[in-house]
């Protein structure tokens, strides 16, 4: 029976009035046709039933088109995943359309589900099960990013993906926090750090706190053990992230500036601990605002409790907190009034933390005698900017406490750095040491998985047999360096002290440079004798003399930027006979020493390590970008380089050239350090990559970028002369001389 006939035949039994009004005109026919298709597709009864129930509401909420589009989407899910999942999807359609509100948003949500069902059918159900929560926390864009991260992280592993989307993986929760806000800890970190240092003159190590448990846990800032931890996001403060982070950090700053030694827990009950903490919060805020009155504008907006309402413990706490901060807040509860009175009376001892303990004890006792219930287990400090108070108390360490840092190695190093960072000799400007404390602190506990690359560019490659340059042939992926040694610089300085000192001398000498004498100048420090005599002769013979009679001295100008390209292909793992170290370790040292020298000269330098695994995976590791300062992180990245894969040198040169092209320097140099000829797994013709590399060098030369190669090892069988031209490379047989040679060579070239 044709669909139209069916609609006509049984209008009142099949189609309810609500459905009719939701699908006016011919769309009703379409709805019925869609329904019919779902019924006949053999998905069971649940799918068409859910469709029948959801579609009218969806149609009313986000439009008929969206409602009708549900059917093919459900069909797709039923086929790829399961009919059950499709039914879940349809049941969710109404709440989601209500949530998202616009046809566009709803459509892209459906698209997201469809794209997930295509890529990872097993993960759709766990995602749908949390759809509302995820939308609440992430919003549509955040959700997209989160889903994509999950797909990337899970890769081809079905179980891993499922774990991710059911939030069983820690990484999934961490990323959830990360995407849960327009501004996150990550995006605000450096601003917060600088702001905190400005306000308080110091910056304790700052970390992103790990999520506590599944999904919803409301995390607070914390400052136990000298380390400040801020949540990756504050839920419920969308759009106000910056203020809540600033407020939280300012609050902790106040604790650190005005707090005393930690309180002893002693016989105190949880309720008293909470009240003492609350008073202490108010006390340090009071002191901070006395110093910096503007902080009240930062803190007060978060106190939004009303003066009335049920006298529950959380409400009373919030009221007391507000009343202590906000003199205009009406007090309508005896307990709050008592707290404020005691606080005001104690104002003379405001500098003494014992005041908090005294008031808190009494107030806690008072509250304990009333019927007000306090549940310590689910008590969360309010308002959101205040810390969890753990830093205030001398608490016994929890035996089962999860480690708060991924990398303890870094953590201990931080502490050491923080202790010394304020010592006067380190305060000196412009020294590499200076960068230590700022640099190290930026190490967050979260690191990108070293095994996943991020596509950063597509580069052409030259095929000499065809004589054409294939556009977008090579995919460049950026990888994070492996875990490195935070003490790299330290060790290098110990091991190579003499060399570093000598290079320091060389740098000093080189930077003076040689000045050139400029003759016949319009102005200058002295008369140019030849020109003066000529001018005098002309004057006396009645002619007009040349005005350019002075001589000057030109200042040697330095304007050079270098992109150092390190070949870290598998062969660099080989040991060097003489030195007893591997090629890659010599590379590390040589680049570190060069970076050190260039940093002192103030010349821009980038260090990129490369290797390749076929044309789809030119693996680059940014050890130091041009804009990065030389910090311990650079050392860690250097020591974190791991040898592996092959050498697709042409592509790497193009990549380095592209980066260098943006640097406004007179001379730009790509310095390649490699230990072998180009090769890669997907290329059998040995000429192909060599010719491509040659072409890359030529094209860089044409755009004014020099390429110089340092070829390590014996010359036999290497083709560097061919690629880099005879003057464009240096053969270095004695590899252990590399750390000495590299800076010396640079200084010679940079002159």
């Amino acid at each position: 029976m044709p669909v139209a006939d069916m609609a006509a035949a049984a209008p009142n039994t099949l189609v309810q009035a609500a459905t009719r009004s939701a699908f006016p005109g011919h769309t009703l026919t379409e709805f019925l046709a869609a329904h019919d298709r779902l019924t006949k597709a053999g998905y069971g009864v649940a799918v068409p039933r859910s469709f029948r129930q959801a579609a009218p509401d969806v149609s009313r909420l986000v439009g008929t088109d969206q409602a009708l589009a549900l059917a093919p989407a459900a069909s797709r899910i039923a086929i790829r995943s399961s009919p059950r999942t499709a039914a879940v999807f349809l049941d969710l359609a109404v709440p989601m359309s209500r949530r998202l509100g616009t046809p566009q948003a709803f459509s892209s949500w459906v698209q997201l589900v469809i794209s997930l069902v295509n890529a990872a059918p097993e993960s759709v159900e766990p995602l749908l099960a949390r759809a509302e929560m995820l939308d609440e926390r992430l919003g549509l864009d955040g959700l997209k990013a989160w889903v994509q991260s999950g797909l990337r992280l899970g890769g081809g592993d079905e179980r891993k993906r499922q774990q991710y989307f059911s939030l069983e993986m820690t990484e999934a929760q961490r990323l959830l926090e990360r995407y849960a806000g327009e501004e996150t800890f990550q995006s605000l970190e450096s601003e917060l750090r600088a702001g905190h240092r400005a306000l308080w003159g110091r910056m304790p190590p700052l970390r992103e706190a790990l999520p506590l448990g599944k999904g919803h846990a409301e995390l607070r800032a914390s400052f136990g053990g000298g380390v400040v931890q801020l949540p990756a996001s504050f839920s419920g403060y969308r759009g106000r992230e910056r203020s809540v982070y600033k407020a939280a950090l300012a609050h902790i700053g106040a604790h650190m500036a005005y707090g005393g030694s930690s309180f002893q827990v002693g016989q105190l009950k949880p309720l008293q601990i909470a009240v003492v903490s609350l008073i202490e919060d108010a006390r340090v805020e009071y002191l901070a605002m006395r110093e910096m009155p503007g902080l009240s504008r930062l803190w007060l907006p978060f106190h939004d409790v009303s003066p009335d309402g049920m006298a529950t413990a959380p409400s009373l706490f919030a009221r007391l907190a507000r009343a202590l901060l906000d003199p205009d807040f009406p007090i309508r509860h005896g307990w709050v009034q008592k707290g404020v009175t005691m606080f005001t009376e104690g104002i003379e001892q405001i500098g003494n933390p014992a005041l908090s303990r005294h008031i808190g004890n009494i107030l806690g006792n008072d509250l304990g005698q009333t019927r007000v219930q306090f549940n310590a287990r689910n008590y969360v400090v309010q308002p959101a900017y205040r810390d969890d108070n753990l830093g205030l108390w001398d608490l016994p360490p929890e035996p089962n406490a999860p480690p708060q840092q991924h990398q303890f190695e870094i953590n201990t190093f931080d502490r050491r750095e923080t202790e010394t960072q304020d010592s006067p000799q380190k305060r000196k400007q412009g020294q590499p040491d200076q960068a230590h404390d700022s640099g190290v602190e930026t190490v967050t506990s979260a690191r990108v998985e070293p095994s996943t690359g991020r596509v950063v560019a597509h580069l052409p490659e030259y095929d000499f047999t065809a004589g054409i340059e294939r556009p977008d042939w090579v995919t460049v992926k950026e990888y994070e360096p492996g875990p490195g040694d935070p003490l790299f610089w330290h060790k290098l300085k110990e091991r190579q002290a003499v060399l570093l000192a000598r290079i320091g001398e060389m740098v000093r000498a080189a930077s003076l440079g040689r000045a050139r004498r400029l003759k016949r100048q319009a102005e200058g420090g002295a008369l140019d004798l030849d020109a003066t005599i000529e001018a005098a002769i002309k004057l006396r013979s009645g002619q007009t003399p040349d005005q350019n009679v002075y001589e000057g001295v030109s200042r040697p100008e330095r304007s050079i930027a270098v992109h150092l390209l390190l070949d870290i292909s598998q062969s660099t793992e080989d040991p060097v006979e003489a030195a007893g170290a591997s090629v890659i370790s010599l590379l590390r040292e040589a680049s570190a020493i060069l970076a050190h020298a260039m940093d002192r000269l103030g010349d821009p330098l980038a260090i990129t390590a490369f290797s390749s695994d076929g044309r789809d995976d030119l693996r680059v590791v940014h050890v130091k970008r041009f804009e990065d300062e030389l910090t311990p992180l650079t050392g860690m990245a250097l020591s974190g380089l791991r040898a592996g894969y092959s050498t697709r040198i042409g592509a790497a040169i193009r990549y380095a050239g592209a980066k260098l092209a943006k640097i406004p320097c007179h001379r730009r140099l790509v310095l390649v350090v490699t230990d072998g000829e180009p090769s890669d797994v997907d290329v059998s013709d040995p000429d192909y990559l060599a010719m491509d590399a040659k072409r890359a060098v030529q094209s860089l030369n044409a755009s004014g970028i020099d390429v110089f190669c340092i070829a390590l090892g014996h010359a036999a069988g290497q083709r560097h002369g061919e690629i880099f031209s005879r003057r464009g490379f240096l053969q270095l047989d004695r590899l252990d001389a590399l750390p000495t040679k590299l800076p010396a060579l640079y200084l010679r070239m940079a002159r």
Partner: protein, 269 residues
């Protein structure tokens, strides 16, 4: 001994105000009375130049100031031959002028000048007190009233810019820094003609910005900047506006640093 009228143009007509922060006036006077060269160290805008002006005026000496820069040659200091209609004419440089006629010569930010330029002051700053004019073949003996003062900001110079050891060791040195809050407040208040309470807020902001020294800012806001901010407020700008105009925007382009300074202004006001 009187000074030649040639230097009259360099005399300060009015004594610049100076708020003492320590014993610097007495110390400088002592150094001057035995004509020892003096080096003033300190961050930019903390009052080094003002102090020299004040002292010159107090000691009733003309003050010849030279702002040193990278391109400065020895000739820019001692003088040079110029080509006139009838041949060459020798023109004394500012240093020679002060040496000949007995003024205080103030070389501001001396490390900016190249090291080979600064060695010409060596013979002037030990007990010889002579200035050889190589080009002219003349040996100028310093006027008994002549004194050399140099200033130098140890902060933002790179390792490559430092005084030679042989230069350093010829000088007495006075350390300058931004004054303590109380004194700085009174300086800002009187120089900018604003109420002390406002000046105190400005000084507090200044202190906060100095916390960022070496942590993203090469220098914090100087006393001079605070005074400028105060003057702008005197013109009717609000505190945040004035701070932005005279302090935050000039001092850095880094958005994080700006945000941090804005936060400091916000917190203190």
């Amino acid at each position: 001994m009187t000074t030649s009228p040639l230097l009259d143009a360099y005399r300060l007509t009015e004594e610049p105000k100076w708020h003492p922060t320590g014993e610097e006036v007495a110390q400088f006077t002592a150094a001057y009375s035995v004509r020892l060269p003096v080096m003033l160290k300190g961050p930019t805008g903390c009052g080094k130049t003002r102090f020299v002006e004040h002292m010159a005026s107090r000691l009733d000496r003309p003050l010849v100031t030279v702002s040193c820069h990278e391109d400065m040659t020895a000739s820019d200091l001692v003088g040079r031959y110029l080509l006139g209609p009838d041949g060459t004419i020798w023109q004394d440089g500012p240093l020679t002028l002060a040496v000949r006629h007995g003024g205080i010569c103030y070389l501001d930010e001396i490390v900016e000048a190249r090291q080979d330029t600064t060695v010409i002051i060596h013979a002037l700053t030990d007990d010889r007190r002579i200035l050889p004019l190589e080009k002219k073949g003349e040996l100028v003996r310093a006027h008994p009233d002549f004194q050399l003062v140099i200033s130098y900001n140890p902060g933002y110079q790179s390792v490559l810019k430092d005084l030679k050891e042989s230069t350093k060791q010829r000088f007495c040195a006075l350390d300058f820094d931004y004054p303590v809050a109380e004194i700085e407040t009174s300086i800002v208040a009187s120089e900018a003609d604003i109420p002390t309470s406002t000046a105190a807020v400005l000084v507090k902001i200044g202190e906060k910005s100095r916390n960022l020294r070496g942590q993203g800012l090469s220098e914090g806001a100087s006393t001079r900047m605070l005074i400028h901010t105060g003057r702008l407020m005197q013109q009717g700008l609000t505190l945040p506006e004035a701070c932005r105009l005279a302090m935050i925007t000039p001092i850095t382009d880094d958005p994080d640093m700006r945000a941090a300074l804005e936060a400091a202004v916000d917190a203190c006001s």
